[in-house]
Amino acid sequence: MSTETMAKPAKANILQAINAAIADAMEADETVIALGEDLADPEEGGVCGVTKGLSSRFGEHRVRSTPISEQAIIGAAIGASLVGFKPVAEIMLMNFTTVAMDMIVNHAAKLRFMSGGQTHVPIVIRTMTGTGFASGGQHCDYLEAWFAHTAGIKVVAPSSPKDAYGLMRSAIDDPDPVLFIENLPTYWTPAEAPEKDYRVPIGKANVLCEGSDVTIIAYARMIQEATPAVAQLAEAGISAELIDLRSIAPWDRETVLASVGKTGRAMIVHEAVTPFGAGAEIAAVLNEELFGRLKAPVRRLGGAFCPVPFSKPLETAFAPQTADIVGAAKALMAR
């Protein structure tokens, strides 16, 4: 190994990490197949190129572009999974899960239970979302709470290339359906590259930085807002612990409870609208499990309760920002 590569650890972005994870899984296991709109190389390997190169390498029989037919896409994935394949299906944007909810919720999530375990649905549903690209009301929703409220499907949302790779490999390994949420604005940020065959267990959170005063629980792009918040809080003498949830369903109660048990203060940050969001479940559990031991009420910071607005200043104000997190943490400390 040259000193050059030793000096600079390999970098990758999330897009490349997901691509590598699917490629490595396809190489290791010929039952791994992929489908979705524009997915194959004649169609440029997806609108953002996440699946670029896969069809050239593994063949268009295994990596298929589809018509615009989300019910048919998820149905095909479910069916193939019932007979031994491990399909990775793409629903281009999370809002388009709305045209495939029957397949996802009534079938993918339920067939194992309804068949008494005779069949199961080891599929991964990749989907992408997030504000920041001025896409307006129908292209940016975070809908993870819907799926977390559905028994029989797991939900993950990585925030780094390593986690994206490791969670994708675990999702493909998993014997049950996993919704894998990608975030558009963070696709291209380079960071430490994942090692081949690395795994991140589903249901395991990541303590990104330790602290003693307040626990910040976040995931997906909100990690990018929370990270500078932690630094700013440190400057203000507040020691924040930052937890990247990574898996929303199941979520890592153990890690989160241990942290909040220690700090006594908690804040949950997500881009989804606050009411009835994933933060409510976490807050409810924290209050239940740590009753009488919290120093301040659990704070929830989420998207404004409205459709995602187009106009830039409104779009920016819609989702929690670093300053909001800092402000909320200070308010928690003041209680």
Binding site: I33, H61, R62, R64, T66, P67, S69, E70, Q71, A72, I74, G75, A76, A77, I78, G79, A80, S81, L82, V83, G84, F85, P87, V99, D102, M103, N106, H107, L111, R112, F113, M114, S115, G116, G117, Q118, T119, H120, A151, G152, K154, P175, D176
Partner: protein, 326 residues
């Protein structure tokens, strides 16, 4: 259509056996529910016996089926064992799904019964995926998705037929047009024949008399041949009639009395029985013995089911995921 495939004598008798099984099982089901020995939503397939019987004699055990709530006829014709079925609809641990699925979600992979769904239209997208698997493996298997006339108006029908056609999947879309979707007549929900929609996908489509075992056999035979030969999907619209209301308990006041009387008078089961005997394909004694055997099997299945234990509440935590919930 003169040189279409014809079932040989043994196959004709086998078709009849499946029809008789379906009819007897339906009559028993309604009786058991009527007597209060079982509580379940029951969607009678009575009147539609020919369709799966004459179709599935063209299939093997390892060919696949995706069916719907009104599907016991499909399942029995595909070989679903009676005991496993009865124990399931009775909600017992010995049921094929341990009692957790019930009549709308009967599953038996051993005979290729992969999915039974209660959502109109949903058998089709999943059938495509199973067929995609066969295409990838080159295993020569065929997948049949059955559904009703009403289901032909829902989005999943369109997406599924299109994808199957474009991907040339080894799948058969078997529409059982019984003239009704719940309380609504098919004519009120579409201006065209279901079969005529095949052209919208560049797929062969055929309307066939689904109460005629010969016509049904021939249509299915050709569709199975096409699928196995890699020539792609087929849409079959099998015309039939629903003898009862939509679900057990539905008094069917909305159904035209004369039309219903006519259909019942043309009951395909005794009609085919008489034909087999008239043409010397089978004897009265042979068929009577077959029917008695069927009754005995049903007796046994019902008793087995009703004497089996119910699942315990720990089952709520099992089969949600592979790993049991805490």
């Amino acid at each position: 259509m003169s040189n279409r495939a014809q079932p040989d004598a043994a196959t004709q008798v086998e078709i009849y056996r499946r029809m008789a099984l379906i009819k007897a099982n339906d009559e028993r089901s309604r009786k058991v529910i009527m007597n209060g020995r079982l509580v379940m939503p029951y969607y009678s397939p009575r009147g539609q016996e020919v369709i799966p019987s004459a179709t599935f004699v063209n299939l093997n055990d390892d060919d696949y089926l995706c069916t719907i709530y009104r599907g016991t006829h499909d399942m029995l014709a595909k070989g679903f064992p009676l005991k496993d079925m009865w124990a399931e609809v009775a909600g017992r641990t010995t049921g094929t799904c341990k009692g957790k699925g019930g009549p709308m979600h009967l599953t038996y992979p051993g005979k290729g019964v992969m999915v039974t769904t209660g959502i109109v239209g949903s058998s089709m997208p999943i059938a495509n995926g199973i067929a995609w698997g066969s295409q990838l493996r080159g295993d020569g298997r065929v997948t049949v998705a059955t559904f009703g006339d009403g289901a032909s108006n829902i989005g999943a029908f369109h997406e599924s037929l299109n994808l199957a056609a474009v991907w040339k999947l080894p799948v058969i879309f078997l529409c059982q047009n019984n003239e009704w979707g719940e309380h609504t007549a098919y004519d009120k929900t579409s201006n065209v024949r279901v079969a005529d929609r095949a052209a919208a996908y560049g797929m062969p489509g055929e309307r066939v008399d689904g109460n005629d075992p010969f016509a049904m056999y021939a249509a299915a035979h050709e569709a199975v041949r096409r699928a196995r030969a890699g020539e792609g999907p087929t849409l079959i619209e099998a015309m039939t009639y629903r003898f009862h209301g939509h679900v057990f308990g539905d008094q069917d006041a909305y159904m035209d009395k004369a039309r219903k009387a006519e259909a019942v008078a043309n009951d395909p089961v005794p009609r085919f029985r008489a034909r087999l005997i008239a043409e010397g394909t089978a004897t009265e004694e042979q068929l009577a013995a077959m029917e008695a055997e069927i009754e005995a099997q049903i007796d046994e299945a019902v008793e087995f089911a009703l004497n089996s234990p119910f699942p315990g509440v720990e089952e709520l935590k099992r089969d949600v995921f592979a790993e049991e919930l805490a």
